[in-house]
């Protein structure tokens, strides 16, 4: 009697986790941007989100110049936009539907209801006055999903692939947040250590759900290299790049050692390399060299890990 998952289903649960993580991050970023991310003249900066997700061109093709209403529509309810919250949730639900017999009924039901709620959202539900509430509801639903999963999903190899999907996506999202937040700071016109930048650093931390955690770790003041160091390498902050990839590594090791799935070998080696690089990163150096290059490289390396899994574990040809 086999305990091993079908290759195709491992793919499904991996992506279920990724889409949920994406939806949660997007909801948080929209909420933070809507609430905190104003420039010096108090105007919200929406191009940053579009750039972060490399969606700017696609957005302009449909909506023209970004303004609050159209960006919210694009990112929350537009089903023709594959990166919208509604699309992410629908994709998560479709993956869940395929493996419904392998996940818990409670996971399935909650996600099914969330999908119905998201696809029922209309333009009138995402007016500036209401959007924060919608984003918080989505975020909480994604967190409820995480909690239900933790409490009910059978912890076999499928659970490991879920954890890998979640943590890889988390690392990817955090790297994009740092990239774009840092860019915003560079474009502000202040010197990098200026106290006037504190609100922008705070926004960056908030969009990664790391503001309070950072305050606890570094209660005195907001030093740029410490903020970067925190988001890149703090081992106790669950959304730091290092912590996320440590989680990826844990699940890969578990597959390799406990479930004896040798096919994860190359993905594991690749993750080990990325982690080693993160540990030796010097935030001060990062500020001097600029963050974009190294973060872009990291995102490429995460794609390589995913491709190893696709080919070696999920049964894709390439």
């Amino acid at each position: 009697m086999t305990q091993n998952w079908l290759a195709r289903f491992a793919d499904n649960i991996f992506w279920l986790a990724r889409y949920m993580e994406r939806a949660e991050n997007l909801a948080r970023v929209i909420d933070v941007t809507e609430t905190h991310a104003r420039n010096r003249s108090g105007v919200q900066d929406w191009t940053a989100i579009l750039e972060m997700n490399t969606d700017l061109k696609r957005f302009r093709d449909t909506y023209g110049n970004p303004d609050l209403g159209s960006v919210l529509q694009f990112y929350i309810i537009d089903r023709t936009n594959p990166t919208s919250i509604a699309s992410n949730i629908a994709n998560a639900r479709e993956n869940a539907r395929t493996i419904r017999h392998l996940i818990s009924t409670e996971m399935w039901t909650q996600l099914n209801v969330l999908n119905t709620e998201c696809s029922d959202l209309k333009k009138r539900d995402i007016t500036p006055r209401r959007v924060s509430g919608v984003c918080q509801a989505v975020k909480q639903a994604c967190q409820a999903h995480a909690g239900i999963t933790e409490g009910t999903l059978y912890q076999d190899e499928g659970w490991c692939f879920y954890g890998i999907g979640k943590s890889i996506e988390r690392a990817d999202q955090t790297s994009r947040l740092i990239d774009i937040g840092y860019r915003r700071i560079m474009l502000s016109g202040y010197e990098i250590g200026d106290r006037a930048l504190d609100p922008l650093w705070t926004t960056l931390l908030r969009s990664a759900a790391g503001y309070q955690a950072f305050r606890r770790a570094k209660p005195i003041r907001m030093r740029p290299e410490e903020v970067l160091g925190f988001l890149v390498a703090d081992s106790a902050f669950p959304r730091s790049l290092y912590a996320a990839l440590s989680e990826t590594q844990y699940y890969l090791m578990r597959l390799f050692n406990y479930h004896q799935i040798g096919t994860v070998r190359e993905a594991l080696a690749a993750v080990d390399d990325i982690r080693a690089k993160l540990v030796s990163t010097d935030p001060g150096q990062l500020i001097k060299s600029g963050v974009h290059g190294p973060l872009d490289e990291l995102q490429q390396e995460l794609i390589v890990v995913t491709n190893h899994l696709r080919r070696d574990c999920f049964g894709h040809k390439s």
């Binding site: 086999t2 079908l6 539907r97 419904r100 017999h101 009924t105 039901t109 799935i261 096919t263």
Partner: protein
């Protein structure tokens, strides 16, 4: 209760047999059913409607839905669920159980015979051309021996009840009978929504269906494979199949992998599935995919859903397919008409549950009777499915009748005829209150080393007033079916 208005006091079953009240004569007297009727009658209509709405919402939330795909969108629909249960007494169930077991025994013997010695054809009990000329007859199955000689492992029999309350077989489903997921899910839904109605009434459980099915299928694994070691899998055409919910349900309840054709490969005439750790052997496949799509090498060359070479593995006895290939002959409408004779031939017994009286137009007597009485008969073409081409005499125009008469003379063997059956009714919640609606019953029969009948079944109810058509595509819904312990 006399004189006092309650939920059922306006209920009138008309001239039909009522599943809750009995015949018109004994309406609502005695027994557990009367007890249930009494409990029901004390509920308020508003309360009932509230609970019905809650139940419906739950079906959506749980995703107990079938998906209708249009070009632009995917729409989830639920099978309408009526909250008033259909109740079957222990005595009635005894008949159903024995009758279904007898019928499946006959069908399995028949299939074994026609794919081996063909004694029944040599003895001219049933015309040879009807069997070997049938489009569902698979010559590839000639001489193939199956574990336990079982062809139909999962069988669904469509039963109806006439005005006297007598059960009749309307149709056999020996290929891939569907709907069992609703039997179990409807029960779970009732347990949550109507605990008070069910309290203290012994109702036979249905939730061990998956376990029983898994066990039965493991029992018919290829030779040399222990029951405990048999790897069973459920094969589905995929997520876009409208019954995917049921496939997921079955895989979950059985605790087996849910595979598609693309997950399987055949090597050395053995079937394997692709897992994260490589290939793993499969011994038994419960396939929810038709014969002609299962192997592009053996049947439909264009099938993208099947597995190349699985028929070779099957013929060698390295994999068991459930149901077997070629069982469609046995649930054909024309073959159905011969089922009473087939029963007598193999068992030397009369059928415990009879067919609906059927006239076989390829026989002179049947043709004459049909032509003479066409106005009170239903005339069905044998090769069509889904009610297509059916003439309902009492409701047909003169032109339709003349046309059918000409067709009958020209090609009599394409037709059978049956009297119009007045299906039994059951109290049902409608916008107009509690009203009688027509209902049928599909019990599910599982055969491994022995045969087991799930105590319950799919009760399909025609929600439109007066309608006799229970199909979900034509306004049908379903009910929970209670088989009483005693």
């Amino acid at each position: 209760m006399a004189g006092k208005k309650n939920l059922l006091s306006d209920y009138s079953q008309g001239r039909f047999f009522c599943e809750l009240m009995g015949t018109r004569k004994d309406a609502g007297t005695g027994g557990l059913q009367a007890h249930i009727a009494k409990r029901l009658s004390r509920m308020s209509l508003d309360g009932l409607r509230r609970r019905a709405a809650a139940a419906e919402r739950e079906l959506y939330n749980l995703g107990i839905t079938f998906t209708v795909y249009t070009e632009a969108d995917a729409i989830d629909r639920i099978l309408p669920f009526d909250v008033l249960p259909r109740v079957i007494s222990a005595a009635d169930w005894d008949i159903i159980e024995r009758g279904s077991k007898q019928r499946i025994q006959v069908i399995n013997q028949f299939l074994h015979d026609i794919y081996h010695d063909q004694k029944i054809l040599k003895d001219k009990v049933i015309p040879r051309s009807l069997v070997t000329g049938n489009e569902n007859f698979r010559k590839e199955m000639m001489g193939v021996d199956l574990p336990g000689n079982t062809y139909v492992h999962i069988y669904g029999v469509d039963l109806v009840r006439d005005e006297t309350g007598t059960f009749k077989v309307l149709e056999d489903n020996g290929r891939t009978p569907s709907g069992v997921s609703y039997v179990v899910e409807n029960r779970h839904l009732m347990l949550r929504t109507f605990p008070d109605l069910m309290e203290g009434i012994g109702i036979r459980p249905v939730s061990d269906y998956g376990l029983r099915l898994r066990q039965a299928l493991a029992q018919v694994a290829p030779k040399g494979i222990e029951e405990e070691a048999a790897q069973v899998a459920l094969m589905s055409p995929g997520i876009y199949n409208s019954a995917y919910f049921e496939h997921v349900f079955l895989a979950r309840e059985m605790g087996v992998p849910l595979v598609e054709g693309r997950d399987l490969v055949v090597e050395d005439d053995k079937v394997y599935m692709k897992t994260t750790a490589g290939l793993e052997r499969i011994h038994v496949v419960y396939r929810r995919i038709n014969d002609d799509f299962i192997d592009p090498e053996a049947f439909n060359k264009k099938s993208m859903l099947g597995v190349k070479g699985i028929m070779r593995a099957y013929a060698k006895g390295n994999v068991t397919l459930a149901n077997a290939i070629g069982t469609g002959v046995a649930d054909d409408k024309a073959v159905y008409a011969y089922m009473p004779r087939i029963t007598r031939y193999y068992l030397d017994e009369d059928p415990i549950i009879d067919n609906v009286e059927t006239h076989i137009c390829r026989e002179k007597q049947g043709l004459e009777y049909t032509c003479d009485n066409i106005r009170k008969l239903v005339v069905k073409p044998v090769g069509e499915a889904g009610g297509y081409g059916v003439l309902i005499g009492p409701r047909a125009t003169k032109a339709d009748i003349d046309k059918r008469l000409r067709e009958l003379r020209r090609d009599p063997s394409n037709y059978i005829s049956q009297p119009v059956i007045n299906l039994s009714v059951v109290p049902t919640l409608t916008p107009q209150g509690i009203q009688p609606r027509h209902v049928d019953l599909r019990p599910f029969v599982v055969t491994g080393r022995s045969t087991w009948v799930l105590p319950g079944g799919l009760s399909r109810v025609a929600l439109k007033k007066g309608s006799l058509i229970v199909n979900s595509s034509q306004g049908g819904g379903s009910k929970d079916t209670w088989v009483l312990e005693e």
